[in-house]
Each structure stands twice: as structure tokens, then as C-alpha cells.
């Protein structure tokens, strides 16, 4: 029974993510694009829950859907760019689609070429007794990966200062 739920969930979330990202790429109005991107992010958050990454799903919703998307909407509304020149060169569209399709086929061919992946069953995360996903995550993050964590904080600080300096009126 659980198996059926996992399957149905995967197909619903996967198809939602793919369709929403297709709409995101093809909508003329950037605001519509941003809203379709929001739907993609929520579907991907559902995929994360399926993959036993509950904490990642939560920060996906908070950071991507909450922070980054609001930033995009803010800039789109602030600039209010006229959408002239939307996909006016069909040759460019065909070329771009073909390049993306070839890239996709290459990835799939590589996947099929590796024997490990064909029979790989997803067994789910085997957490130690009494540890939730967040506890196990934190235990690894703040012991083994403490230095990259600090470097990431410096990166965010630099980006924050940089964004203020660049966008400021002289």
C-alpha cells in the first residue's frame, strides 16, 4: 500500500514539476513565469519529502519559495520591463530546444550506460535509533562540515554587501 502511495506521489509531483517548468520557460509575462516557478519549487519540495529529506523540503519552501521568489517578484515589479522582443527569432528557439534535447538524451544515455543505476532500488534513509532527519542532519553538518558551513556564511555576507553596493544609487 505504501508502495502505491509512493508511486502515485512521484508521478503526480514529477509531472507537476515538469509541466510547471515548461510553462515557466514559455510564458511571455515575467510575473507569470515567477508564479509557475513557485509551483515547480513546491513540487520539488514534495520530491524531497519522498526522498527522506524533510528538513531540505522545509528550507526549499522557505528559502526558494519564500525568499528568492519574492526577490524576483520584487525586481520584476520594480523594473516593469516591457516584454518586447519575446521569442521573435524562431531559429533561435529551434536551436535552443534542439541543444537542450540533445543534452537530455546524452544524460539519459549515460544513465543507461551505468549498470548500477538500472537495478537500483530506493530503500529509504536508515537513520540511527531515536534520531529524526533534522537531528541526523545537524549532527553531520556541525561536526564534519563545520568549516564549509562557516565559509558559506562568509559567502552570504559578501553577497549581501555586494548587492547593496551594486544596487545603491551613486
Amino acid at each position: 500500500m505504501n508502495e502505491i502511495f509512493m508511486n502515485v506521489g512521484f508521478w503526480v509531483l514529477g509531472i507537476t514539476a515538469v509541466v510547471a517548468s515548461l510553462f515557466m520557460v514559455t510564458r511571455e509575462n515575467p510575473v507569470h513565469s515567477a508564479l509557475w516557478m513557485l509551483l515547480t519549487f513546491f513540487a520539488v519540495a514534495g520530491i524531497f519529502i519522498q526522498l527522506d529529506a524533510e528538513y531540505i523540503a522545509a528550507i526549499q519552501v522557505m528559502v526558494y519559495a519564500g525568499a528568492i521568489l519574492v526577490l524576483y517578484m520584487f525586481v520584476v515589479m520594480l523594473l516593469n520591463p516591457k516584454s518586447t522582443g519575446f521569442i521573435k527569432v524562431p531559429a533561435k528557439v529551434i536551436l535552443g530546444s534542439v541543444v537542450a534535447l540533445v543534452l537530455f538524451l546524452q544524460i539519459v544515455m549515460t544513465l543507461m550506460g551505468t549498470g548500477v543505476i538500472k537495478s537500483a532500488q530506493m530503500s529509504g534513509m536508515n537513520l540511527p535509533e531515536g534520531l529524526s532527519n533534522v537531528k541526523a542532519f545537524g549532527a553531520v553538518m556541525f561536526t564534519q562540515y563545520i568549516v564549509p558551513f562557516e565559509v558559506a556564511s562568509i559567502l552570504l555576507l559578501v553577497a549581501m554587501i555586494g548587492a547593496i553596493v551594486i544596487a545603491k544609487k551613486d
Binding site: 508502495e3 508511486n7 512521484f10 514529477g14 514539476a17 515538469v18 517548468s21 515548461l22 515557466m24 520557460v25 516557478m37 515547480t40 520539488v44 520530491i47 524531497f48 526522498l51 529529506a53 528538513y55 531540505i56 526549499q60 526558494y64 528568492i68 524576483y72 525586481v75 523594473l79 520591463p81 522582443g85 521569442i87 533561435k92 536551436l95 535552443g96 530546444s97 541543444v99 537542450a100 543534452l103 537530455f104 539519459v108 544513465l111 543505476i117 538500472k118 537500483a120 532500488q121 530506493m122 530503500s123 529509504g124 534513509m125 542532519f137 549532527a139 553531520v140 553538518m141 562540515y145 558559506a152 559567502l155 552570504l156 553577497a159 555586494g162 548587492a163 547593496i164 551594486i166 544596487a167
Partner: protein, 100 residues
């Protein structure tokens, strides 16, 4: 029955749509959104392998990818605001001062 390949192919599809978005669209903001889509596809890959190998490391790296994506969005959108102030356009075809 769900296998690792299901998640990897889903991630490949979303990544390719992101590549197509960057190549097709001329609106710089939408091109940036497509970049976020590609980063998200990579995150699905990392989560799938983390679950498959029963290792936390993949999920740790998702957090780092998200931090980089947030930093990139902030700086990139600041650049667009600065660009729009000087050029009154964010169409990639009209930004051709360097004849690129």
C-alpha cells in the same frame, strides 16, 4: 516500483528545460529563473543519491547549493537593477555595447 533512475531522469528533464530557458529567452530575469531551475534539478540528484547511499552528505550539499543560489540571485538582481538604471532595458539582445 521506484528506482534511482526515476529520480535521475526527472532531474535530467528539469535540467534540460532550464538549459532551453537560458538559450531561448532574452529577458535576463527569466534567464536567471531558468538558472535557479537548473540548480533545483541538481538538488534532486543530490537528494536521490543521499537516499540511495543512505548518507547525509548529499543533503548537506543541498544546503550549500541553496546558499550559493541565494547569493547569486541577490547579486544578479542587484546587477539588473543597476543595468536597468543605466540602459532602460533588461533584454539580452539590446545589451551589446561590447559587440558580443
Amino acid at each position: 516500483m521506484l528506482t534511482l533512475a526515476h529520480y535521475l531522469v526527472l532531474s535530467a528533464i528539469i535540467f534540460s528545460i532550464g538549459v532551453a530557458g537560458v538559450l531561448i529567452r532574452r529577458n535576463l530575469i527569466v534567464m536567471f529563473m531558468s538558472l535557479e531551475l537548473m540548480l533545483n534539478a541538481v538538488n534532486i540528484n543530490l537528494a536521490a543519491f543521499s537516499s540511495y547511499l543512505q548518507q547525509m552528505t548529499g543533503q548537506i550539499f543541498i544546503v550549500f547549493v541553496m546558499a550559493v543560489a541565494a547569493a547569486e540571485a541577490a547579486v544578479g538582481l542587484a546587477l539588473f537593477i543597476s543595468l536597468f538604471r543605466n540602459k532602460q532595458t533588461i533584454n539580452a539582445d539590446e545589451i551589446n555595447t561590447m559587440r558580443g
